[in-house]
Amino acid sequence: MTTPLSKPLSIQKTPMIPVLIPSESVQLAQQLAQGHPKPDKIEQTYHNLLAVLAVNHYLKILGFQTDLSQCDCWNPFLRMTTNVADLEVVGYGRFECCPVVAADVGEGLAEVPEHCVVPADVQEERVGYIAVKVNGNIPQGDRPQEQPTVHLLGFTDQINGEEWVLGERRSLFNLPQYLEELGHKSENQLSHLTNWLKSQVDEGWQTLDSLISFQRRAGYQVRTPNVLRSSEGNRSRCMYGKTLRLHTEDREETILLITEVIENPTDELSIELKICPVAPDDSHTDETAFLPPGLEMVVVDVAGDAVMQAQARAGNRMMELGFHAEEGDRFQLQIHLKDTILVESFLV
């Protein structure tokens, strides 16, 4: 039974959302920030942690799962050496929580500052940025702990440069919608390798015989059909490829990524990732049949750590990385060339 509203209460477009951080978390932020020889770094770390914890607790209230243990700001070494305030939202990705210190901006508690500084070093691999206004300093000596005043100001999915103009922020009330879209997007972009063995291949991947220029240039033997039964029992294997374009400052490079999946008797899968050059269709020379020197392929695990990598040198026609994985494992292949990066995400 609902009561009809006579005069609905209205919320301003981008409201400041007050968050009361649990006292246990405030205490923890104080402890973790201590120990650095420079007092301004202690304050910075404290404010970073308060911003992270405020977003963390707010998202938990809404039913999102977060994982602080995977965050750079939760590691003492990375906290000390970088100015980081990251929060991993399980299933969606990593947000940077950007503290705006009320005392620094010299404005009243109800005011939203004009901009927020987000260091360029923490702008990689972020799905979004959340501005958090923090009022409260770390207590000195034995002074009792004070409850800091914290407001969530808004979010954005990208920042140009290091200054985020807060007038362009989106309301936190749009965040669940944004995460839902993000979830759909990442699910669509994830290549599910176990399904490949059942001939369910993700969009964008093609059989190798349809990638003609690859065959012609790399002289690669393509086995058809794409799922073969070998003589050593029922070991299925399949291989699919996709062309990728890397736009660097001075030119565009086209490469071919081939992923081969082989079923092992131990329930594990062998995964081979290969990168080959692709010659333009109108080319009849071997000029472009080499990989661009410096091209790098890096396999990154679910924690975001690089586990193996390979780099192309002049005259290389192919490079590859192979490893074993179990069903349910997630990994990414990052392809770097100069300052360009392409990411392919896989679920085994």
Binding site: M1, T2, T3, P4, L5, S6, K7, P8, L9, I11, P15, I17, P18, L20, P22, S23, E24, V26, Q34, G35, H36, P37, K38, D40, K41, Q44, H57, K60, I61, L62, G63, N75, P76, F77, L78, M80, T81, T82, N83, P119, A120, D121, Q123, E124, Q145, Q147, E162, L172, F173, P176, Q177, L179, E180, E249, D301, A303, D305, A306, H336, D339
Partner: protein, 219 residues
């Protein structure tokens, strides 16, 4: 903000009903719950105590109530009352836990002389150098010494003076903004944009590798 309590209660009831009409965990439901949280928090009408564990109980209450929003019975009480009842319940839990811990910690140890030892006196003394300070000093030593020469060899666009050693030192421990670093090295706007990327991709991995070798990082 001034609120008409009746108007607020009606609005909250409407929002909770709307939330219940949406699929669990859907963005739409979360949107209605966000509004409930916003109006309740800004109205300052929620039950309040001065207990130091108040904010912990408050967090528990929000998480619980938003997970069990279907439990709210509009014919029995207003939304604010429902939240208050749950908040008091969580506060009581913290109070009980505190009492239990107090009893456990009060039991000092009696010596043969009949003297009661305070358990705190038996804790080992803290080391003079905190682990954080030790880590700071060790990292700084490594950075300055560059024992394998890899930091100095990692240069930005063949400019030997803009290397990993110099850049890491400027970002940590000196906290110099990128803009100031770009000015110092007379970088073009395009170079100034690329420098932090170079730092992330080429310099930070060296710092991480050092952290791993020292056991400061797990993986």
């Amino acid at each position: 903000m001034e609120f008409d309590p009746q108007q607020l209660d009606a609005h909250l009831q409407e929002l909770v009903a709307q939330a219940c009409g949406c699929a669990p965990k859907s963005a739409e439901r979360q949107g209605y719950l966000q509004q409930v949280h916003y109006w309740v928090t800004t109205s300052n009408r929620l039950w309040r105590t001065n207990d130091d564990y108040y904010t912990d109980a408050l967090q528990d209450m929000w998480e619980y109530c938003f997970q069990h929003v279907e439990d709210y019975a509009p014919d029995r009480a207003g939304v604010m009352t429902w939240l208050d009842v749950n908040l008091r319940r969580f506060l009581q839990r913290y109070r009980d836990r505190r009492q239990r811990n107090l009893k456990r910690h009060q039991s000092g140890v009696q010596t043969n002389d009949g003297e009661t030892l305070n358990p705190i006196d038996r804790l080992p003394a803290r080391s003079d150098v905190s682990p954080a300070l030790e880590m700071f000093n060790r990292t700084l030593d490594w950075l300055r010494a560059d024992p394998e020469g890899v930091l100095q060899k990692t240069c930005f666009r063949k400019r030997a003076e803009i290397n990993a050693q110099v850049l890491i030192q400027k970002r940590f421990p000196d906290k110099i903004p990128w803009r100031a670093i770009a000015t110092e090295f007379n970088l073009s706007p395009a170079e100034a944009t690329d420098l932090p990327k170079f730092y992330n991709r080429r310099c930070l991995p060296l710092l991480r590798a050092f952290g791993k070798a020292q056991g400061y990082l797990d993986s």
